[in-house]
């Protein structure tokens, strides 16, 4: 590889890098812990104290994504709650049920799907940039780029992306896409639309935080003082309210720092405008030249 093309390569990467992260990271710094989000960033507030575990959201999700699904009546079967389920290629969202600490009360049902992080680990990790964060907050996967390395699955703090291991050709990474196609048509996400008890509230993320706080104020004692997803890994589009500690509902305990933060700082530190690699190259070249000269001098002396 010639020097020139190498430099071009460096330059392009640096520009691409800046273009991808520059804006987001600078704004983050300016606002401290907070997160930079466009005004259009939407979200969903899940009130687990309202959810009745009817699993109509699962049916609606599959129908909206043209996935095979049993008829709606079958979803009344509550034996599925005996084992914890996770989203996979057969369903982008699942509802799990947990015992209520408050004995005698109904069990707690928790819908699981992609949280659509404000600063998604999958977007940062993906080797080919197949994931992107859209203006409406959705994190979506681009089939045409993906090489199936599954690094997104390693990176995701919520363990959401799933892989079609049974396929030899064109296996997909599957996960909730926040019904981007429906949102583009001005429709609600399928799960939100079908929910019969309004456990899911769709709206601007900032407004939803206010709604959650208002709910907590109006019904003291109904919720623990924690909106899950408000700050976790830098905030998520989907946020949860619950009557008991989230760790008892199998939510991972996460810090406020965005998941890709440390990794990206290391990456950008090592490659800051490609100075470190070029400096190392120059240093090694210098050492090589010196040693070679020393060698030939001593040879001349011998002669």
């Amino acid at each position: 590889m010639s020097k020139q093309s190498r430099r071009d390569f460096l330059k392009t990467t640096a520009i691409a890098t800046t273009a991808i992260t520059g804006l987001a990271s600078k704004k983050t710094k300016a606002e401290g812990r907070g997160v930079y989000l466009p005004d259009k960033a939407m979200g969903v507030l899940v009130d687990t104290t309202v959810c009745i575990g009817c699993r109509r959201c699962e049916w609606a999700c599959k129908t909206a994504h043209d996935m095979p699904t049993p008829p709606l009546e079958n979803y009344d079967d509550r034996t599925v709650y005996e084992n914890m389920r996770r989203p996979d290629y057969t369903s982008y969202t699942v509802v799990n049920e947990y015992e209520n600490d408050d004995t005698g009360k109904f069990p707690i049902d928790v819908k699981v799907q992609c949280m659509h992080c404000n600063q998604p680990a999958c977007v940062s990790a993906c080797i080919v940039g197949a994931f992107s964060k859209l203006e409406n907050g959705a994190v979506v996967w681009d089939e045409s780029k993906c090489i199936g390395c599954r690094y997104c699955m390693v990176a995701c703090p919520f363990q959401i992306p799933a892989f079609e291991y049974q396929k030899a050709i064109q296996p997909r990474i599957t996960k909730c896409d926040f019904c981007s196609a429906r949102q583009a048509e001005g429709k609600l996400p399928a799960c939100v639309e079908i929910c019969p008890v309004e456990a899911l509230t769709f709206g601007k993320r900032e407004d939803l935080i206010q709604v959650a706080k208002e709910k907590m104020r109006l019904y003291p004692g109904r919720y623990v003082d924690h909106i899950y997803g408000e700050f976790e890994v830098g905030g998520t589009s989907w946020m949860y309210l619950a009557s008991q500690d989230f760790s008892k509902l199998a939510f991972p305990k996460l810090q406020r720092d965005p998941a890709p933060g440390v990794s990206e700082s290391i990456q950008h530190g090592l490659f800051a405008y490609f100075v470190p690699p070029i400096a190392l190259y120059a240093l090694l070249g210098g050492v090589m030249w010196l040693n070679k000269n020393k060698k030939s001098e001593s040879e001349e002396e011998q002669l």
Binding site: T21, M84, I127, Q159, Y165, A168, V287
Partner: protein, 412 residues
């Protein structure tokens, strides 16, 4: 120098009982590999949505890259530090690195769900991704390794091309091409040698950055922001032990005497490097106060202790002993321990330490995964054996030492 001649192809029978056993292992691996490409990852591996990466990434790729570090460490020593004495080991180390990285690339392809898109990172870039950095560097470095090997090919075939039948018309043009290539490479080789060292430093460390993004999914004994540095240091520290290990195995296999005068000097350098690695490893543990996880006995703490004591501290003590570095058995065992330590480290980082929040049953590699991993190693051994029989790689002791023209390659 030291009574060694210039490197030349080894003339021995290719097949021995040992080679036949290794070939069988390679064939089994190849059969499973075929099944993986026909039936998909799910049919062969125990990978799941909980454990997306198994030994094909943790060992075949991450360990494979680390164990190929002999290539850039000896290049740095021989060419950049210009220590003439070590030139005898550069070609074997280069060949090992070349084969090692070739198989790393094959392993990556095997693990990729859409392996036929392996070239996508060349056009779809994501500068934030540590994996992108690793992928690009490994691709470029692989190319550099093949370029560094080209002079050996030229040396073997210039004036000796003799194609059968009608192809003999190509003899002259090919010979001319090799001569031009040889002359061009002779003048420019230093560019590639330095590039090889820089690229190695970059991706050896970025391999460590890979798991940083897994955050709390990774056990705190291993999860640290200095992972890239630890990966780089451990790769450098395993470079010379790997060269010693291979040199002694191939000496034994070809019935040669081990080149102890070179290997002892090489072994003397391992101690200080290992010490620096150990210092950073322990320093990191103290600063992050992660040693509290060693107070209880569980898989993680046991694996960490074995990795550190058997894989770093014991060989460090051995390499620092003047008696051990002079004894063939001593440096062989000590080198094996360092290799074992890095094996444990990569296994721990990528598999043992990885604790996903929702795991229904732990990941244990399937027989198919193990067969492929061992099969790849077997194929590598066979190709190495074939290559040293075709190309002038290994220097034979005692004989006239004609001067060669590769000043920068430094082959005496």
């Amino acid at each position: 120098m030291n009574g060694y001649t210039k490197p030349q192809p080894i003339t021995k029978k290719f097949f021995t009982p040992g080679v036949i056993i290794i070939s069988t292992v390679a064939l089994i691996g190849f059969a499973v590999l075929l099944a993986r490409y026909i039936f998909g990852l799910g049919a062969i591996t125990n990978l799941s949505n909980q454990y997306p990466w198994g030994i094909w990434i943790g060992l075949d790729v991450a360990l494979g890259v680390a164990l190929a570090a002999g290539g850039f460490t000896t290049a740095a020593l021989g060419h950049i530090m210009h220590r003439e004495k070590f030139h005898a080991i550069i070609r074997p180390a280069l060949l090992t690195a070349l084969l090692g990285y070739t198989f790393v690339a094959l392993s990556v392809a095997t693990d990729l769900g859409r392996w036929y898109y392996i070239w996508h990172p060349l056009i779809f870039w994501n500068g934030n991704s540590a994996l992108f950095e690793v992928g690009m560097c490994v691709m470029i470095y692989l190319a550099v390794l093949y370029i560094e090997f080209l002079p050996i090919v030229c040396e073997r075939f210039i004036g000796r091309i003799n194609l059968p039948g009608i192809l003999h018309l190509l003899n002259k043009p090919l010979d001319k091409l090799l001569r031009i290539l040889d002359r061009a490479l002779d003048k420019t080789m230093f560019i590639f040698i330095i590039a090889g060292v820089v690229l190695s430093c970059l991706h050896q460390s970025s391999l460590g950055t890979l798991m940083v993004i897994a955050g709390p999914k990774m056990h705190p004994l291993w999860q640290t922001p200095v992972l890239p540095l630890l990966f780089l240091l451990s790769a450098i520290s395993v470079g010379f032990p790997m060269v010693i290990f291979e040199s002694m195995i191939s000496s034994k296999s070809f019935g040669l005497k081990p080149e102890m005068d070179i290997l002892t000097d090489l072994a003397r350098m391992v101690g200080p490097i290992l010490f620096i690695y150990l210092a950073f490893k322990i320093g990191d543990m103290v600063i992050r106060r992660s040693f509290v996880y060693l107070y209880e006995i569980n898989t993680a703490s046991v694996m960490f202790t074995i990795e550190l004591v058997v894989g770093v501290i014991v060989p460090l003590r051995m390499f620092l002993s003047p008696k051990v570095v002079k004894s063939p058995a001593g440096i062989f065992i000590a080198s094996c321990l360092v290799i074992f330590g890095v094996f444990m480290n990569r296994l721990n980082n990528f598999i043992v330490a990885y604790n996903p929040p929702y795991s229904f049953h732990p990941y244990i590699p399937s027989l198919g995964e193990i067969a492929v991993t061992i099969g790849f190693i077997a194929m590598e051994v066979l190709l190495y054996r074939a290559a040293v029989m075709i190309f002038p790689v290994i220097e034979l002791p005692n004989g006239a030492a004609p001067k060669t023209k590769y000043a920068i390659k430094g082959v005496k």
